[in-house]
């Protein structure tokens, strides 16, 4: 764990993933030709608006896509070299909660209301090791302390509904850390339901813990502010496709895809909107996933769109080391300056 070095193979490597949903109205291609990798110790932010496929990707990694109507049509998800899509349901269950853990937007739905949080965390220890009940509970209290819950011994005796939203999210994080070797934590909008001051606390906690236990984080969010605060690298998704992938500073300073640039521009907190009378905005709305063929899905909203965009989705281009984008008409450096 501790001797990771950046040149080794990525922790998680998704190749050419396709996730479809067979609905009554037709085939919804929720994730298309997705390549995504997360290195050891890295925080990758997967950003995009609702319906872009970011949550479906997370569910595909943990194999929680409901089938039917869902269907992982093709691709592979390599986790430390093993293809998760080839594992049996039983092997997958052991992996979830041990090497891959998840925290969600609303922790209340993933905590069991009839057990104390101490018991629930202790249960994670007990499923992965043959620890005694008492010992496991003590370890649970230690973890609650680690996630900075005040008076952890007392709080371990509380039921989920007795905790505030922020405390519950901390308890979920503690539970994710209870596994013997936390490899990847998937955080699906972990702070969206929380107040700003609590959000800041949780984000700080996640960053600290990442350093401390050496885990990688896949952070799914729609909030560019959260991305700017926590991510090492960002992948921007739109209508099932990845459109840009870059280190965080690079993406914010030099976005290439018009959607990525638009997303940054329409944030009221973004520096370019300081003193502006109107926000930058992207016209129109996300197209119906059913109606998208092989064209660039952003072409109906894109100011630069041409016939080429409507004819086919572009190949990968590079704007620098580790900075890839998929666009026929990228924003050049000179374009940004205007």
């Amino acid at each position: 764990m501790s001797d990771n070095n950046p040149t080794q193979a990525p922790l998680l490597d998704i190749q050419d993933l396709q996730v479809n949903f067979h609905t009554r109205r037709g085939l919804v291609r929720a994730v298309r030709n997705l390549n995504l990798s997360i290195n050891e110790g890295e925080t990758l932010a997967l950003v995009g608006e609702s319906g872009c496929g970011k949550s479906v990707t997370a569910h595909a990694i943990t194999r929680l896509v409901p089938m039917p109507p869902g269907d992982i049509a093709s691709g592979s998800i390599l986790f430390r070299g093993d293809n998760l899509l080839d594992l049996s349901e039983r092997e997958m269950r052991t992996l979830r909660g041990s090497k891959i853990s998840m925290i969600f937007q609303e922790p209340m739905t993933s905590l069991n209301p009839v057990f104390t949080i101490g018991t629930q965390i202790a249960e994670v220890f007990r499923t992965h090791t043959n620890m005694g009940k008492k010992e496991a509970f003590e370890k649970a209290v230690e973890l609650l302390d680690l996630v900075k819950i005040p008076a952890p011994a007392k709080r371990a005796q509380s039921y989920p509904h007795q905790l505030s939203g922020g405390m519950r999210q901390r308890a979920m994080i503690a539970m994710a850390l209870a596994s013997p070797e936390p490899g990847l934590m998937i955080a699906d909008e972990p702070t969206t339901a929380l107040d700003v001051t609590i959000q800041a606390q949780i984000l700080q906690l996640l960053s600290e813990l990442k350093e401390r236990v050496g885990m990688s984080i896949l952070l799914i969010t729609h909030d560019m502010g959260v991305v700017a605060e926590t991510a090492d690298r960002v992948a921007v998704m739109y209508a099932g496709r990845k459109v840009e992938d870059a280190p965080v500073e690079e993406l914010f300073a030099n976005p290439q895809h018009p959607y990525a640039a638009g997303l940054l521009g329409c944030q009221p907190s973004s520096p370019q909107n300081k003193g502006a009378h109107r926000l930058e905005s992207i016209d129109g709305s996300v197209p119906d996933l059913l109606s998208i063929g092989e064209e660039c899905p952003f072409s109906n909203r894109c100011p630069n769109a041409s016939d080429r965009c409507r004819a086919g989705f572009p190949e990968k281009s590079e704007a620098g080391p580790n900075h890839a984008y998929w666009c026929h008409h990228p924003i050049s450096n000179s374009g940004v300056a205007s």
């Binding site: 009554r24 109205r25 109107r278 905005s281 016209d283 709305s285 197209p287 119906d288 109906n300 909203r301």
Partner: protein, 295 residues
Amino acid sequence: MNETKTATTDEIPAEPGFWRESWYQLTRNRAAMVGLVIIALFAILAIFAPLLAPADPVVQSISERMTPPLSPGYLLGTDDLGRDMLSRIIYGGRISLVIGVVSVGISLVLGGILGLAAGYFGGWTDRIIMRIIDIMLAFPYILLTIVIVAMLGPSLFNAMVAIGISQMPRYARVIRASVISEREQDYVLAERSLGTSDLELMFRTILPNALAPTIVQATLGVGEAILSSAGLSFLGLGAQPPTPEWGLMIASSKQFITTAWWIVTLPGIAILLTVLGFNLLGDGLRDILDPRMRD
């Protein structure tokens, strides 16, 4: 810089509507579809009874009394007074369906108004209405029905009124519960903030949205009302002879159960089938309309 971008594209997500989606789900629920087919069958028989029935249901033919089923001219035989069983069952279906629908209609109107008032106004209105409902629910259902018919006098119409009143409390409860949950929705607050009056809010804003849960109750209620009215007629409190009512048919021929089984059994099977039809459909609708069953 100051050009404003407020135009929207004309794209509309073509999400199917609530009723269309529900209908689709219903067609995939086999039990509910069986129920629907049974009900449709009886409904067709009832509507076209004069065309479909081979004979007049009340005309007696003493010489041909107690003809067994499958005899020439009498597919289902005749009863103890020589009346054609098939015709009596077809006309009986007419009466039973009317009873079911009218009773439930009475329940819905009474229960709807009480439930709507209790749920919308809350406070003392709610407390008084709900205590009355609680008291009504404390009586055994069939006993309450019998008491009401006894007070009004035995007749088919009074039986419907009695069944309607006895079944009313459960509709009041269901509607009150859904009115309370709808009342807190933002769209109600929004329409109130426009200056919309209480009456309009109650009947035009909230009620249409609060009715969906009662559909299940009403479907099951039709079956139960048919059953209750058959029971009342059997006891002599509902339909009076010679009306071809299924419960009455059973009651007036019960002594022939050993000698001419069909006279008693066939109306019984008719009751069983219709009630089963409504119950199957009701259970199916419950599964479909229950939001917890949807994603």
